[in-house]
């Protein structure tokens, strides 16, 4: 169970909601309403006021690197620090099943990052985050850069994650996708959640 309480970002706030394992929630809202900033704040990537806890443990009690391994955030744009794809995955881990599930050839690990398309990069960014087996997934626009076939693959991986007990939050502009995947939908405007549901 991830609990967010009184979280304030540069976009405003406070924001409060909670979601548990085996649940997918979708967050919608116009561009600039603070959805991405909220995810950054939950992942502790930006300093923000408010409290976040995971399974009853306050975030401040968990070292930040450990927190981010448990609460995985995949931003809309992925960053890469090495020439080779494989260098971005944990050492000695076997991620071929995961990469195949996302519709890519596991041989992609030996490729150079600069040869990948935006969509391939984004799916690999999801794969490297999931390789750490996080309990909470925060995905910003997970399928915006993808074609329909690849988007279905990602959606299938998200559903599998829910079935295995992950707590999943998706920021999406796609209402149809939100309806298809989410157990609950929150709407954000001016840095605050406006839907009555889930607001504390």
């Amino acid at each position: 169970m991830l609990i967010v309480n009184g979280l304030r970002t540069k976009a405003g706030g406070p924001v409060g909601f909670e979601f548990g394992g085996g649940e997918i929630i979708a967050v919608r809202g116009p561009s600039g309403s603070g959805k991405s900033l909220m995810l950054r704040a939950i992942a502790d990537l930006d300093p923000a006021e408010g409290e976040v806890s995971l399974d009853g443990i306050p975030r401040a009690r968990i070292p930040a690197p450990e927190w981010r391994r448990r609460v995985a955030f995949v931003p809309a744009e992925s960053g890469w620090w090495d020439d080779r794809v494989g260098a971005h995955f944990p050492d000695g881990s076997d991620n071929s099943a995961l990469i195949e599930a996302l519709g890519l050839d596991p041989a992609v690990l030996d490729w150079e990052v600069r040869r990948l398309s935006t969509g391939e990069r984004h799916r690999l960014a999801i794969a490297r985050a999931l390789a750490l087996e996080p309990g909470v997934w925060l995905f910003d626009e997970p399928t915006a850069a993808l074609d329909a076939v690849a988007a279905r693959r990602v959606e299938a991986v998200i559903r599998q994650g829910r079935d295995r007990g992950a707590a999943i939050l998706l920021v999406t502009h796609d209402d149809v996708q939100a309806a298809r995947l989410a157990d609950r939908t929150l709407t954000m405007a001016d840095g605050r959640l406006v839907a009555p549901e889930g607001v504390t």
């Binding site: 990537l45 300093p47 070292p63 690197p65 981010r68 995949v74 931003p75 960053g79 750490l132």
Partner: protein, 269 residues
């Protein structure tokens, strides 16, 4: 040692400037627009060097440790300002001017004191005739290294923030996440001194050694002095670069392992 030092008259010096004036005339004739700049730079140099000559002469005559230290501090202030001026993106607050100047001063200070007390061994050890020229050479090179290193660090962290944050998001510590950029910044800070060590003696004859030879010192003795000073310079530059980059990463990240580019100012000019 053959003491064949030849004293120059001011007339000799003025005569040497003929070529500079010739160049300025050429620039006027070809309309290069460099004449004015060239003359102003030449005049500035004359005034600055004459003033430095007078100041050094006075400081040597006074022979006071406080005055010597005071002059060293003036040099530190100018060098620190130069590091500050060469940053494309400066850190906000006192860290901006403070970090580069602090790292440079600490590194150059440790090295100069070590050299003066352990190798030079003048009496007294702080004798301005040895301390100030050596400190100037060490400080100038450390300044170049620190300013290049810090500039590379802040611009590459800024430009590649997505890569740094990608690593942080995968559970890396701030030190692991910034390592490629720290390495790049260190390489950039150390390159000038490494290049100049490699080129010394083959491509260029160092100024200090040339000066000693001109003043009648045996070339083999001049080489020993030159080696000493280059080792000191390389040591101080390396120390200053490492200190400033470690401090830079410390400041541009925080204890929750976040990248804090908000502590960096905007791009200048």
């Amino acid at each position: 040692m053959s003491s064949s030092y030849i004293v120059l008259s001011y007339w000799d010096v003025a005569l040497a400037a003929v070529f500079l004036i010739l160049n300025a005339g050429l620039s006027l004739w070809l309309q290069l627009g460099l004449a004015r700049q060239m003359l102003v730079a030449g005049l500035r140099m004359v005034v600055q060097l004459l003033a430095v000559g007078l100041v050094l002469k006075a400081v040597f005559a006074v022979g006071s440790p406080l005055v010597t230290l005071g002059l060293a501090l003036v040099m530190v202030v100018f060098a620190g300002r130069e590091i500050w001026a060469r940053q494309e993106r400066r850190m906000r607050g006192p860290w901006g001017p403070g970090l580069g100047a602090g790292a440079m001063t600490l590194a150059a200070g440790v090295v100069i004191i070590f050299a003066l007390t352990q190798q030079i061994g003048a009496d007294p050890w702080w004798s301005p005739r040895f301390a100030l020229p050596l400190f100037g050479m060490i400080l100038g090179n450390t300044m170049t290294g620190v300013s290049l290193g810090l500039d590379t660090l802040s611009t590459s962290l800024w430009r590649e923030s997505a890569a740094v944050e990608a690593r942080l998001l995968l559970g890396a510590t701030r030190w692991d996440a910034t390592r490629p950029f720290a390495r790049r910044a260190m390489r950039s800070g150390m390159t000038p001194i490494i290049n100049s060590m490699a080129a010394t003696g083959v491509i260029s004859l160092p100024g200090m050694m040339t000066g000693q030879i001109l003043s009648g010192v045996d070339p083999a003795e001049a080489v020993k002095y030159q080696l000493l000073i280059i080792f000191l310079i390389a040591g101080a530059t390396g120390l200053g670069v490492v200190l400033s980059i470690a401090g830079g990463i410390w400041r541009l990240t925080d204890e929750r392992h976040r990248l804090r580019l908000d502590r960096l100012g905007g791009e200048r000019g």
